[in-house]
Symmetry: C2
Subunit: 316 residues, 2 copies
């Protein structure tokens, strides 16, 4: 398998799409080979620019992503898209409605789209999305777009993996308070008011500008860009605003600091995941299972945890 | 401090509100004394019924919670409310708008309301909400309501801490696909269509019933209850439906299994949190910090993690 890993690594550096897809599946399955590959490919990462696109459901994120991608393709940029879909264990997979709209892009060899289901262990998702971005980065994609629903912590974590974070809203989202609550207002580097031809858009734009204005601690002040994504109106301006933010980050030390912070979080996650994988042996699972079945529990769950950890903690 | 812990424990068993509030702060700060208290109080938990109320922003969760609480108070039930607010690091705390509406309840000695901010470490929140519920349980509250926004994984985790999970939607939420995407449809034990006097309600009710009907694997089939929460219409029926679900759970072995599963997740979280607290010593933080500052990194983050873990993993 060592050979296979090296082969896969070489294929990825050549930009082989099948190899990219294969490694993404390894990442999704937390396969040990993925770890080796990421280790090998690490020196070849850091070139791609990472753009997060987030906002409430129905804001038009997929449509905007499609149009942005077309602009980027005209500039000969290769684009990787990682779309985080909250998943329903009930339907058994990510709901691919949004992805279907991107169908015309999937025929383009310069575009790679991957859906990641946000089901299951919440902790691992942001790490996996980051690792997938590393693969695309090593495979020579110039821009990597993370598209997430952006309401839960996991989605915010994924958005935080980006160099520039774009937040979309529509006038119907109504209350900006909801955006504040979801933590969207303070992570926005570029703010897009989509469907800006709808009633209430002017009022909402003023409100957003007012709220963004409160972030005075930050020297970067995001503009509110107006788009009508399904008519492809305003998309070029949005892309120019992303570039303006990129220039700002590069002119200060911010990009470096942002990426440092990101790496820190990643290392913490890698360590957590490794420890947990090691801790939960078959034996420990059995102890836990037996405890759960006890009719009258002698130990509290706290004492049980302490006992299971007692030998380990002194060694850590 | 041992004495203080025992004192606090005794006060909580007597239902002392100040003691409850104090311990909740200890829990929020991950204070070691909280751990001791939870351990002492564990045998006194398991009596309260836990109800989760979730749904998209603006669905009317707080209004419904208020009215339900009034009904419960008329039945002489003591009610604890744990409201999970996604937080803005930008505004520096939970946005308390929704809480303010509950003001008339806060004067009632039989009601205890606590807001938990969902900022920071996503992993700990569901555990903390559970622990706060245990305190309320030990303090003699009969019903504990978790109110969450319910779009991210964390909110779903908190909702999963409940015996009965209620999902609210309004006709304007429009597309049920969004509810599916957020994972709400399959966790609903009781479904509430709020603002059912609005246009489109009938159609939406049919759609929801259709989607819920697809969950045929589950013997429990949730009804779609209609309410107009701000007029307090339909609330009694909603409460009866919660009781119908409670009866169903008790008649089968489901409540027991649900609570077992919950305890399992809690123990896993306790263990994770303990290990991490122990692992991240000042020394290890320094190593990580030095690595992040390296201009040209010799190790990949994967190799670094391995080195930091090398001695530990063999001992775990």
């Amino acid at each position: 398998m060592k050979k296979t890993v090296e082969n896969l690594g070489a294929q990825i550096l050549k930009g082989d799409r099948l190899a990219v897809a294969r490694v993404m599946t390894l990442i999704e399955n937390d396969d040990d080979h993925a770890f080796e590959l990421l280790n090998i490919l690490f020196p070849h990462t850091g070139t791609a620019y990472r753009l997060g696109i987030t906002g409430p459901p129905g804001a038009g994120k997929s449509t905007l992503t499609s149009h942005l991608t077309k602009i980027l393709r005209n500039d000969k940029c290769r684009v990787g898209i990682i779309a985080v879909d909250p998943t329903s264990p009930f339907t058994g997979g990510a709901i691919l409605g949004d992805r279907i709209r991107m169908n015309d892009l999937t025929l383009d060899q310069g575009v790679f789209i991957r859906s990641v289901a946000s089901r299951g262990s919440s902790g691992g998702l942001a790490r996996q999305a980051n690792e997938m971005a590393d693969i695309l980065d090593a495979a020579g994609y110039d821009i990597i777009i993370f598209e997430t629903v952006g309401v839960g912590q996991v989605e915010l974590d994924v958005a935080a993996a980006a160099d520039t974070t774009m937040v979309l809203m529509v006038p119907e989202s109504g209350d900006i308070i909801q955006g504040l609550k979801a933590g969207l207002m303070e992570i926005a580097d570029v703010f897009v008011l989509n469907k800006s031809d709808r009633p209430g858009a002017e009022r909402m734009k003023m409100d957003i500008e007012y709220v963004l204005h409160l972030r005075d601690a930050d020297p970067w002040s995001p503009k509110v860009m107006e788009t009508i994504a399904h008519q492809a109106a305003g998309i070029t301006e949005v892309w120019k605003e992303v570039q303006r933010h990129q220039t700002y980050l590069l002119s200060t030390d911010n990009l470096k600091r942002k990426r440092e912070q990101r790496l820190k979080i990643r290392i913490e996650r890698i360590i957590r995941d490794k420890i947990e994988k090691q801790f939960w042996t078959v034996r420990r699972r059995e102890i836990l299972q037996a405890y759960l079945k006890e009719e009258k529990k002698e130990l509290s769950p706290y004492r049980l945890s302490e006992e299971m950890l007692s030998k380990i903690l002194s060694d850590i």
